[in-house]
Amino acid sequence: MILRTLALSALLMGSSAMAQEAVTPEPPMDVKPAQAELGKRLFYDTRLSGDTNLSCASCHHPDKAFSDGEALSQAYTGAAHFRNSPTLANVGFRDAWLHDGKLGTNLNDVTREMITETFLMNMDMRIMQDRLKQDPKYVEMFDAAGYGEPSNGGARNALQAFQKTIQSRNAPVDTGAMSASAQRGQGIFEGKGNCASCHSGVRYTDDQPYNTGVGDNPDIWSDPMRHSAFVTYAKFMGVPNYMNLREDLGAFVRTHQPETRRSFLTPSLRELTYTAPYMHNGTMATLQEVVDFYDAGGGDDPLKDARLKPLGLVPSEKADLLAFLEALSGESFDTDAYVWREDDYDYQLIENWRDVPN
């Protein structure tokens, strides 16, 4: 009897309990399992988008460490995105979000932006709230999560809780199971390569924007769907001369400081083996290309960060560095703990509609 109870509670604890058993870069975040479980169901629910075509998982695939494998992400029906979909691994630990760092507050704001932005999920949250109320499973899960009846705020909180459970697990760099080559690569990463100058800390990022001279992605400007989404964003952010821009100005859109043009947040290097292609605009297909890019001292940009210099790495050093980078990736997120497997997204008619409160 006691054993059965234990087994049951382990099941109920869900993802956070499992995460505790794995080696993680940082202690797991404090998350209530019932809230994370609700967030997990919401994450895979297309009814969180205006026309019910997209869920969070449409651009954040669990088998790709919650990125989407595209250079430039898809976006809402009739639109297309102008940036690469980032991994959500360790997303709860970030200090800033979006490639330009536009959001520096909290995951609640990030979640709301993704759901409501016209070229992302284009959802009027008032409609979303009443959609959730029409699904008995949500009515039950919101209650179990302590949120009362389904609501926008509760949904965002639950999505935050789920995102906080998405943490790297059992990466060789954390378990100590790195190859000799990877260990040599770590030396280069911290030394000759100077990568750790920005890719610092256990997430291998300082969450700060820099200009590294990554080249333009011409697919933004050749596709009116992408370009018009970019114009919408630039206009909303008050970027001067937005109609004639043919470059992504990165952090400038929020700072409006000329020296920040084309600077983008240092990305985490965690789960890299799942998240190709690379850079804010997906212009590098492989990690090898990225290593070569930095070895050459980055790209060509007058505002490029002064620390970027040719590194003079020999092929064996590059191979070692690559081995280290690969050792920063842990186990796949394509597991039951992170994926809502059931196709149980249904509305239910309220039969005695006249007799019950709305």
Binding site: R47, S49, G50, D51, T52, N53, Y76, T77, G78, A79, T118, F119, N122, D124, R126, I127, Q129, D130, R131, K133, Q134, W221, S222, D223, P224, M225, H227, S228, A229, V231, T232, K235, F236, M243, N244, R246, Y347, Q348, L349, I350, W353, R354, P357, N358
Partner: protein, 373 residues
């Protein structure tokens, strides 16, 4: 109104030679040209632009829901279903109204929430269960269509197409979608033969015994006032979970108290604008023009045919949860079957031929060349 009356009188003089002594009801009138607001004058180029935009899905959230998605020319420029389609993933909650002759209304939408066609176009393009578009995004898209860049520059002097001007062009186009040559109009303008005997009897009843003209008067056959007739609630709210979602959303979005949100089971109509309890369940008297093609009827499409509508009135209207506000003018009429048929025949004379123009070719978004300006 005055202008229309004068015009009708002028035309009547023109027809004097063929006019007989038959009297025309003074509570009704032929329809003249629509009023054109001084701040949005008409031009052929503006109308042509508005026509394209009316049929172009670019003015919606998913680039797939033009105005014409819920105002289909072949559906009487409305939707021949109780409730309008609504944005994908949703359903609407009211009956789609015809565009034909919408130019004459003082206010638009069933509860008069829009003061102009321009405002109506904007609200419909943006509404969560309609176009679900966002102005910045729709405006950005327009700039990617070479034909629109040129047309907005020519018509409005825009460096880049302005979304506000898009709504103005659509309104201008809609002001051309009028019908002033119905049998009724021809009759009022002096052609005695334009109505048959049954329709003339119907007209007599319409303005007399049935008292329809108490509200359905003037050239548009509406006084544009708001009444509760006791139209029964939309039955989809009992049958369709997505309709239940939209209904609650509208209650919340249009701003009701928590208590009302929980307890209301029917569309409060005019209340949403005035927040006066006495306005619950009131809707604007619709024009009866072009109704031959705009079935089903009432704000929620709950009456299927014109005959059903006349029978509804003959029985003194109906009951809904706001019946305390039901108009005293709605009383049993005591019409017999023949009289009902006569009135229906008259109402049909308020519709001319179906207006089915060839739809315009819709220009496409193209990559934007640098330095357009």
């Amino acid at each position: 109104m005055k202008r229309t009356t004068l015009m009708a009188a002028g035309l009547a003089i023109g027809f004097a030679s063929i006019a007989t002594a038959q009297e025309r009801p003074d509570t009704l009138a032929a329809l003249g040209p629509p009023p054109i607001p001084a701040d949005n004058p008409m031009s052929p180029e503006k109308i042509a632009l508005g026509e394209k935009l009316f049929f172009d899905p670019i003015l919606s959230g998913n680039n797939a829901m033009p105005c014409s998605a819920c105002h289909l020319p072949e559906n009487g420029w409305a939707v021949q279903d109780k409730i309008s389609f609504g944005y994908p993933g949703t359903t609407h909650w009211r009956n789609s109204q015809t565009i034909i002759n919408s130019a004459y209304y003082g206010k638009l939408f069933w509860a008069g929430s829009s003061k102009s066609l321009e405002g109506q176009a904007r609200s419909a393009a943006r509404g969560g269960v309609a176009g679900n578009g966002e102005d910045d995004m729709m405006e950005a898209r327009l700039a990617f269509v070479p034909e629109y860049r040129e047309a907005f520059r020519e018509v409005f002097g825009d460096d880049w197409p302005s979304i506000r001007h898009a709504y103005m062009a659509i309104a201008a186009y809609e002001r051309t979608l009028v019908q002033t040559d119905t049998p009724f109009d021809n009759y009022m303008n002096g052609d005695d033969a334009a109505l048959d005997d049954q329709q003339k009897r119907g007209l007599e009843l319409f303005t007399g015994k049935a008292n329809c003209a108490a509200c359905h008067n003037g050239a548009m056959l509406t006084n544009e006032a708001y009444y509760n007739l006791g139209v029964p609630p939309y039955d989809g709210w009992e049958e369709d979970p997505i309709a239940q979602i939209t209904f609650r959303f509208e209650l919340m979005a249009k701003g009701v108290t928590e208590k009302m949100y929980r307890s209301t089971k029917d569309d409060p109509g005019l209340y949403f604008r005035t927040k006066q309890a006495s306005d619950k369940g009131k809707f604007r008297v619709p024009s009866l023009r072009y109704t031959k093609y705009t079935y089903p009827y009432m704000h929620n499409g709950m009456l299927e045919t014109l005959r059903d509508v006349v029978v509804f009135y003959n029985e003194g209207g109906g009951e809904n949860e706001f019946s305390d506000n039901k108009s005293d003018m709605i009383q049993p009429l005591g019409l017999n079957d023949d009289e009902i048929d006569d009135i229906v025949a008259f109402i049909e004379s308020l519709s001319g031929d179906e207006i089915l123009p060839a739809e315009p070719e819709i220009p496409e978004m193209q990559p934007l060349p640098l330095a357009q300006n």
